[in-house]
């Protein structure tokens, strides 16, 4: 073989290696600015094309054409707020209650931000001011089914609030329960570094407990904290008193919570009360990332107190002298915990049925090579746009075959868990906004599409969301005027 032929062959072989890679790389690049409504492909969940969409309109282009802007989906503008809070977001170094110095973000000079308390039916108004967060900031009301324009997702439901700007959130606290708020601009960084706080909605007649403690669990620089305090956090409680501990998992992984020195009841999951919860001993509650669990502990009469263990930190109730007990290997299974009661709608009358199958494969994400998440076999941004009409009863099967656990978070709605791996739910209705789907598991959930807008449905392991595990739910006849990237610099993940 002549050296020239050889050289040509070598060049051809090189091209054969490089060309496909280059093609995949190029094809993965995202535009500078895009609307989430242009992402991926429309999925009607086997239901009819909703009335808001003209027949014969192919794909997304038609969705922009008409419909109502989600910007108008707000709480009653004429009603005076019952609860008013000002939150000033800043970037900088701050001290945790424990004295540890952390580089990150604060709200009103502290992290976690102040706990916002409201009563059922209150109109809550929160004015967010960005004092010094360079990348912009928003607040998402995790678990509260707010009107779409108040959902706080940069580039989807609003523009990120730039330095010197402010944004006012208004929503009706119409459901009792434990919630939290956090930034949904660059959330994988801003939430981890402290832009978050608790939100508690109490019944009008008061919380049925003598002591009511939010327990916002967060990892700062690798240190587990409860309400910003490390290690053992004391809580006053007298023998015989009932203590309600509102655990909020603000981190990116499932967290076991258990009690030393007493039995407990799991009173609520993700803000919804459990019906007739039985006392639990020797089992832990696995709190989903982003999820909440309300534990009720009746303080032992002998004054020995109790400890609530949460990932290395603990609440020490009533001066308990116990040492930390080892983590139980058994977990409360909400699928069969509590006793059944009517859920308020019939999942069997579903009008749409979606699949949300999570996988993983190598490829390029916006030009970056790596191993990326897939939804129904497609990599971001080519993911399904789940499309519903108002009033639909929606079923969704969430399956995880990706090799990692995913805490799936649906914005703006609560979903009822119907079954796991084919085993039907038999306990108290299990309503979630954040659902842990372990590798190899498959859940079926259902919900009523009663809150119009464009909603995220994503993994609340926030780095995973930044790696493309994000899809959206949209109501036919609505569109978002906001976009990701561009001059607004909106980057929700």
């Amino acid at each position: 073989m002549s050296s020239r032929v050889r050289l040509v062959l070598a060049c051809v072989a090189t091209l054969a290696v490089i060309a496909p890679l280059g093609w995949f790389w190029q094809a993965s690049l995202l535009p500078e600015e895009y609307s989430v409504m242009d992402m991926g492909y429309v999925d009607f969940g086997g239901g009819p094309r909703p009335g808001g969409l003209a027949d014969g309109v192919a794909g997304h282009a038609g969705m922009h054409a008409g419909g109502t802007s989600i910007a108008g989906l707000v709480a009653d503008p004429d009603r005076r707020p019952d609860v008013r809070v000002d939150l000033r977001a800043e970037k900088g170094t701050f001290k945790l209650a424990s004295g540890r110095e952390v580089d990150g973000y604060t709200l009103n000079g502290q992290s976690p931000g102040p706990v916002i308390r409201a009563e059922e039916g209150d109109l809550v108004e929160v004015r967010l001011e960005n004092v010094s967060v360079p990348d912009g900031v928003t607040l998402h009301w995790h678990g509260v089914d707010v009107p779409n324009a108040m959902d706080g997702v940069a580039g989807v439901t609003q523009e990120a609030v730039r330095r010197g700007e402010s944004f006012t959130y208004r929503f009706l606290a119409d459901r009792v329960g434990t919630y939290w708020y956090h930034s949904h601009q660059l959330s994988h960084e801003q939430v981890q570094q402290g832009l978050l706080g608790g939100l508690v909605v109490s019944p009008r007649e008061g919380v049925p407990a003598d002591v009511d403690v939010p327990a916002l669990v967060h990892l700062y620089d690798g240190a587990r904290t409860i309400n910003g305090q490390e290690g053992d956090v004391p809580v006053r409680a007298l023998p015989g008193q009932t203590v309600r501990v509102r655990v909020v998992n603000t981190d990116n992984g499932p967290m076991p919570v258990w009690v030393t020195g007493s039995s407990y009841r799991l009173r609520a999951i993700d803000g919804t009360d459990v019906h007739q919860p039985a006392p639990v001993t020797g089992e832990a509650v696995l709190v989903t990332a982003g999820g909440r669990a309300d534990l009720e502990i009746v303080m032992p009469q002998d004054g020995s107190g109790a400890r609530v263990e949460a990932g290395g930190a603990a609440l020490v109730l009533g001066g308990a002298k116990h040492t930390e007990s080892p983590a139980p290997t058994e977990f409360v299974d909400p699928l069969s915990y509590g006793s059944p009661r009517p859920a308020g709608f019939d999942p069997a009358e579903s009008t749409r049925s979606f699949e949300y199958v999570i996988g993983r494969r190598p490829g390029f994400l916006d030009g970056r090579p790596g191993l990326w998440w897939t939804v129904n076999g497609h990599m971001f941004p080519d993911v399904p746009m789940f499309t519903v009409a108002q009033g639909d009863v929606v079923r969704m099967r969430i399956e995880n075959e990706s090799g990692d656990v995913h805490p799936m978070h649906l914005h703006g709605h609560h979903a009822l868990v119907l079954s796991r791996d084919g085993v039907e739910a038999t306990g108290s209705p299990w309503w979630v906004d954040s659902l842990d789907v372990q590798d190899g598991e498959s859940y079926e959930v259902a919900f009523v599409a009663d809150n119009p807008g464009v909603w995220m449905d994503h993994c609340h392991n926030l780095p995973h969301a930044a790696e493309g595990l994000v899809a959206h739910f949209m109501y036919a006849g609505y569109h978002t005027p906001y976009s990701i990237g561009g001059n607004g610099g909106n980057r929700p993940e």
Binding site: A13, Q193, L219, M255, V405
Partner: protein, 159 residues
């Protein structure tokens, strides 16, 4: 080109050693960090990979992932491309073997997240990859000491 091939092959072998070193660095550091009273769970794992948690050695986890997922496959690809041009006897064959071993290594690393037994094979395959990379590099030296074989051998390898 031959020396490029040789140097690249040895860099890949060094890369394997680097991978082993930073992993043990990280695991040793993790053990000490837990001994100091910290708790290691899923949230800590995520914080670690996101660079939000640090202890002596923690950088090893990130380096292992980045080097293994990006640098090593890139080096193996470049070695293969160089092999097309460098007239190293058996050069293409060995570069292909190195690339395949890298692909298998990444796959085993990934599968290890679902099933720990793949981690055992990940460790063994690292040594295979190391051996292949060293062998590929040594081909060039052999070529220098055995000039009689150099004229025809590479052409056969090409086809």
């Amino acid at each position: 080109m031959k020396s490029v091939y040789r140097v690249l092959a040895f860099i890949i072998a060094l890369g394997v050693a680097f991978q082993a070193a930073v992993m043990v660095f990280a695991i040793a550091g993790l053990g000490i960090w837990v001994d100091e009273g910290n708790s290691f769970d899923k949230a800590a794992v995520e914080a670690l990979f996101d660079g939000e948690l640090s202890f002596t050695g923690s950088v090893g986890m990130m380096l292992h992932g980045m080097n293994g997922m990006m640098v090593m496959p890139a080096l193996a690809l470049i070695l293969l491309i160089v092999s097309f041009f460098a007239k190293v006897p058996g050069g293409v064959k060995w570069a292909t073997a190195v690339l395949l071993a890298v692909v298998v290594q990444i796959a085993l690393g990934i599968f290890g997240h679902s099933n720990a037994y793949f981690g055992l094979l990940h460790g063994v395959n690292a040594l295979i990859l190391f051996g292949l990379a060293v062998t590929a590099g040594m081909r060039v030296r052999r070529l220098d000491t055995a000039p009689a074989r150099s004229a025809s051998a590479p052409e056969r390898e090409m086809v």
